[in-house]
Symmetry: none
Subunit: 129 residues, 4 copies
Amino acid sequence: MFFHVDPTDGLAIYDQVVRQVKFSVARGAIRPGNLVPSVRELARELAINPNTVARAYQQLQTDGVLQTVRGMGLEVAPGAVKHCRQQRQQLIQARLRQTLAEAKRSGLDDEELRGLIDKELSDVVRDER
Amino acid sequence: MFFHVDPTDGLAIYDQVVRQVKFSVARGAIRPGNLVPSVRELARELAINPNTVARAYQQLQTDGVLQTVRGMGLEVAPGAVKHCRQQRQQLIQARLRQTLAEAKRSGLDDEELRGLIDKELSDVVRDER
Amino acid sequence: MFFHVDPTDGLAIYDQVVRQVKFSVARGAIRPGNLVPSVRELARELAINPNTVARAYQQLQTDGVLQTVRGMGLEVAPGAVKHCRQQRQQLIQARLRQTLAEAKRSGLDDEELRGLIDKELSDVVRDER
Amino acid sequence: MFFHVDPTDGLAIYDQVVRQVKFSVARGAIRPGNLVPSVRELARELAINPNTVARAYQQLQTDGVLQTVRGMGLEVAPGAVKHCRQQRQQLIQARLRQTLAEAKRSGLDDEELRGLIDKELSDVVRDER
DNA sequence: GTGGTCTAGACCACC
DNA sequence: GTGGTCTAGACCACG
């Protein structure tokens, strides 16, 4: 599927799952009406506990991104795309702000920081392939 | 002083303190032989629990950045500058990598992401003044 | 304390706890700034699992009724009273409606139903003493 | 038919079906010897899964309310009326007790509670028409 | 098979 | 001590 989990990320695992589901909806990888992977399936795939996935999915229901289809699983809610697009922007921006703020405060000069950003950006693009 | 703490950052508070002390040494804001603020003073300043500061200072001693001066407190260790410079690069880079990797995976197109980065970079510079 | 749990109630236990905390705030038994019983303490008192209490408390944080005081526990949030008063009315009313609707549909004649209601109401008042 | 299902009720759907069949027998809407709707028919009517109806019917057989008629389906058992009348009283009373007990504990004053009960009772009667 | 709930017990960060 | 998170495994309701 489209999900990754990084235990060294600092963010709670369930929160990483929440973000990634939102991002997947935001970019159209999962559409309203589509079923998301079952709790057990995604847990197996990510090698984490089903309860952790369940917790993420429950949060996503509270946020109105997912809704239950009885006995079938969980599907992306009708109005979720717009909400997820907004959230994507906000979540990414907030994290970016914190990261860059710390980087700047660390005393790296602007050139070094720019260099690091460009390096990591191109690495990220390369890894993507 | 030069320290900030952001409870919304995701990073543990004690870890933020550890990083900031290292960064302060890296950029020369505190020099080998300088005393760092006392546990109580820094705790008061950051409005956090003294135990949290104490834990950060303990970690910094373990890392060889600080050392005790009998009856005086904690000072920056002689060889700390080089170590902190290396760590600065590594710590910032690692965090940047995670942040950008998530941003990229979120499906934002490159232009938007670049735009966000530039925006936040300039905000960060502006806030600094 | 002020909390009860009835495993035969049909409602999930964590949901019963959520409702009772809201009701306690609504009637002023716990006030903004007051700490609620700790997860472990309430779990012990109600003879349920701490995770179940934690889940209820987490829901209450999501609902803005509780907020964490780091290392101290959870306190009632400043604006919670008004919210809880509204919720109390809604939650009680919804449940009352369902109960009475079923009772009416069951075919009991109005007299019998009235009689049952009065009987149970007075029992409830008596148990209270 | 005479059956309703409310997914927001809190009670399990199969239990709602069980109760309603009992209530229908209690008030004489279905009489001993009458066939109840087939599993498939009732499932279609209530827009629920046939397995859910089947489970309810199985429970009703265990309770002695329904019995199989070879090749025909399920009929109301001879002695069911008396049993269902008793159960109706008990089931309604138990639920009423829980609902009113919670309402009372919530701290609503007696007047408000009485007001809510009267309001919902008259609503229920009105909806019936 | 699905999600929802509960229990039990672990480790962590923070006070 | 506190809450937050995670794991492991159970049972239930529903399809």
